[in-house]
């Protein structure tokens, strides 16, 4: 890949929220960094005024649904990665539940190439654990790992690998190439026909319940399996207080488990289902206020390692209908950083360095892309960076987003923070808050 020949100087930015600095980006790397006015700036450098802006390593999403191939009416790799860039991401892990399923080297390489061609963010395909996500036999995990896409994260996301022996084999098998199984924890029999969190609200409004125990039972089983076979496990979109407790316990035993929470589970609750607006229908479902507090606490104390979006675009037809007929999922790439700022940074529960950890460093490490992403903001490091203005506020407008779908649950809500610029290997994918098309788009 070529790098952008443009040189940038970011003036007065605060790396990880620390002291102001001038940062020069040239040749795809951080070329210079020092106190304002102290660094040599090439004469042709493009000036970016970053006073009071926070400079973060480019964000990494471990859980993105890009929908291509198969549902290009909802999202494409190009539109989804534009949304990623707009949200400050420089790398996304594209989930395998496409059509065809990403369960072969051919499909993951196709998705990986589409990402390279689009040029807005590095696309790291997630491989399916089982053929066709059917939960019956292992997909060719090795072939995907050794393909050009270098797959390291495997998941049947959307479905749970509920068969215990299949899960055990997958956990063991991926050790050969440093892979990880990312489990969508949902006991299928306990959630047949489930529509929303099972509890006070579901009882009242008459929607079939998705009980917390259906998530917790699978997580409990999987951490014990991971311990038994000495494997690495990643828990997708953990959503309940009980799940936080189980992961906390597992980590205290030294089990090699990591966990993610979505932005929406950090702030929204099942009370929203009272509107019967399918925008709020998501899997796992929005939980109670007590669960929201528990996941915030788990994120703050490190029990939960990362925030991942579970960005799940859907067409209008799949959401403009009865709740029970609607698709599960909500978009998240363009609101994730703001939600983390609102729920964790502004109340003083996390620092910007913590944000860098949960939205960049840790997801890069879990996804085994730490050679390129989630790097320190330091001279010589790849210029994968995100500049955010934490003082800005904005009202979310679904129609104005870069994603091809409008199913954001934050429409009409005011959120803090704005991504001012995103750099992918020194090329600005976002500048002045607007997505920048690659020069000679498509050329490599």
């Amino acid at each position: 890949m070529t790098t952008d020949p443009t040189t940038y100087v970011l003036r007065g930015v605060r790396p990880l929220g620390g002291d102001p600095a001038d940062v020069v980006l040239a040749g795809g790397v951080v070329a210079a960094l020092g106190a304002p006015g102290s660094v040599d700036v090439p004469g042709d450098a493009v000036e970016v005024d970053g006073a009071d802006h926070v400079l973060l390593p480019g964000l990494v999403d471990l859980h993105t649904h890009l929908r291509e191939p198969g549902r290009e009416d909802a999202e494409t790799v190009a539109s989804g990665t534009r949304a990623a860039a707009a949200g400050g991401f420089t790398a996304v892990h594209a989930m395998a539940n496409t059509s065809p399923v990403a369960d072969t080297a051919g499909v993951v390489e196709q998705v990986w190439r589409l990402g390279r061609d689009a040029g807005f963010a590095d696309v790291h395909p997630v491989g399916a654990v089982t053929v066709g996500l059917a939960g019956e036999r292992l997909a060719e995990l090795g072939a995907m790992a050794h393909s050009a896409a270098r797959v390291r994260v495997f998941s049947d996301d959307g479905r749970c690998v509920d068969d215990p022996i299949l899960m055990r084999r997958a956990l063991e098998y991926v050790k050969a190439f440093g892979g990880v199984v990312a489990q969508h924890a949902q006991e299928p029999r306990l959630t047949e026909g489930a529509q929303m969190n099972e509890g006070v609200v579901s009882a009242e409004i008459g929607l079939a319940g998705w009980p917390a125990v259906a998530e917790e039972a699978i997580i409990a089983r999987d951490v014990l399996l991971a311990e038994h076979v000495g494997s690495r496990l990643h828990v997708c979109h953990l959503s309940t207080a009980g799940s936080v407790e189980i992961v906390r316990w597992a980590k205290s035993r030294g089990i090699d488990v990591t966990a993610e929470v979505t932005p929406h589970h950090l702030v929204l609750t099942d009370e929203l289902a009272r509107t019967y607006d399918p925008t709020y229908k998501v899997n796992p479902p929005l939980r109670t206020a007590a669960d929201v507090e528990a996941v915030r606490e788990g994120l703050a104390d490190g029990t939960i390692d990362i925030v991942a979006t579970d960005h799940a675009p859907h067409t209008r037809e799949d959401k403009d209908c009865e709740w029970a007929a609607a698709a599960f999922g909500m978009t998240g790439l363009e609101t994730a950083l703001s939600v983390v700022q609102q729920t964790m940074v502004d109340p003083g529960r996390m620092t910007w360095a913590d944000v860098a950890r949960v939205l960049s460093v840790a997801p890069a490490r879990i996804g085994r892309v730490e050679h390129a992403h989630g790097r320190p903001v330091a001279v010589g490091e790849p210029a994968n960076l995100t500049l955010v203005d934490p003082a800005a506020t904005r009202v979310v407008d679904g129609a104005a987003q870069a994603t091809a779908s409008g199913n954001t649950p934050f429409a009409g809500r005011e959120l803090p923070g704005r991504v001012v610029a995103t750099f992918l290997r020194g090329r600005a994918t976002v500048l002045d808050g607007a997505v920048v098309e690659p020069a000679g788009a498509g050329a490599r």
């Binding site: 009882a203 929607l207 079939a208 019967y276 403009d320 009865e322 709740w323």
Partner: protein, 331 residues
């Protein structure tokens, strides 16, 4: 009142107005000429995404006796999985100039969506949505209870006009988990001052029921003998709750269900003399209710059906002609 979506939305005054208006409507129904000119020129659409002949003909009779034009729109056959698009149907009805839409839907919340999504400006009457609400059923139940237990016993107005249900005890027995009738009744009976006990096997009570304004029990005999309800409302048990289906059977066998939760002559004898027996229909005789109980002189099940028409007339009247200046508005 713009819509009638859930009994939980009704204030006590709203509920009493509906019941008192229903009493006036019922009085007109004993006349030789039952038809009133009140809703002449207004269009009522019965929009049924789920079959229910009983409910549809009850609403149809109510609308016709108020002289409304009635259009029956069955959207069930077109596409079962997603149904005819709710939105497109709503836009069609809007274009046709429907004044009221009576909607029965398999999906909880569909009437709420019709009323709030901005697709339609007609009044929406919920005629049963999924496992959520069936407000006119609860209103006809309350009307029936009031007539028998306040009106006739109290010696005042024979229909109990103006009175609430304070102090009355109602046991609701059966599949509460899947019952829109139970949800509607719990909210309305509480608003009207009655006490409610839900009696079900533990598998058929929703998780979260502890916040409902009622008691729950797993023991029908104890509830009847010790709590002495004034009315017992038996809920229908659907066949699919017994056979397994997707979630497995909710109780071991129909026989065992009947043994612990069925209303029969022996249990009937535990009740106070004045107590009435109710059922929203259609009944599974021999399962949740024995023939003796269903046909006893305590049973007011047939009367519930007749009261349903009066209550639905009242609901249509108050939603469509609630403005007292409207033409032909005197009963």
């Amino acid at each position: 009142m713009k819509h009638l979506l859930s009994t939980a939305d009704l204030s006590k005054d709203d509920a009493l107005l509906l019941l008192d208006t229903a009493a006036q409507m019922a009085a007109t129904q004993s006349r030789a000429i039952k038809k009133l000119p009140t809703l002449r020129g207004r269009t009522v659409v019965n929009l049924f995404f789920e079959d229910s002949t009983r409910t549809r003909i009850s609403f149809e009779a109510a609308a016709k006796r108020l002289s409304a034009d009635v259009i029956n729109f069955s959207a069930k056959g077109s596409s079962v999985s997603k149904g005819e698009s709710l939105k497109d149907t709503a836009l069609t009805l809007h274009a046709m100039g429907a004044d009221a839409v009576v909607v029965r839907h398999w999906a909880s919340g569909a009437p709420y969506q019709l009323a709030h999504a901005g697709w339609l400006d007609a009044a929406v009457l919920n005629a049963g949505d999924g496992t959520h609400q069936h407000p006119t059923q609860a209103l006809l139940d309350a009307f029936t209870i009031r007539r028998h237990l306040v009106g006739r016993r109290g010696g005042g107005d024979p229909d109990g006009v103006g009175a609430d249900l304070a102090g009355l005890r109602v046991a609701i027995v059966g599949d509460v988990l899947h019952s829109r009738v139970a949800r509607s009744n719990v909210a309305l009976l509480r608003t009207l001052g009655a006490e409610v006990t839900l009696v079900s096997p533990p598998t058929l009570v929703p998780v979260g029921v502890e916040t409902w304004p009622c008691r729950t029990s797993y023991d029908l005999d104890a509830t009847l003998a010790d709590w002495q309800p004034d009315a017992v409302m038996m809920l229908r048990v659907q066949r699919e709750r017994m056979s397994g289906g997707t979630g497995g059977a909710f109780f071991p066998s129909p026989l065992e269900y009947t043994r612990y939760y069925g209303l029969d002559a022996r249990r009937l004898a535990l009740l106070p003399d004045h107590a009435i027996v109710m059922h929203p229909g259609p009944m599974n005789r021999g399962l949740e209710i024995s023939a003796e109980a269903a046909d006893s002189d305590r049973a007011v099940i047939v009367e519930q059906v007749a009261n349903g028409v009066a209550v639905r007339m009242a609901a249509l009247y108050l939603l469509l002609a609630g403005d007292p200046s409207a033409e032909g508005n005197d009963l």
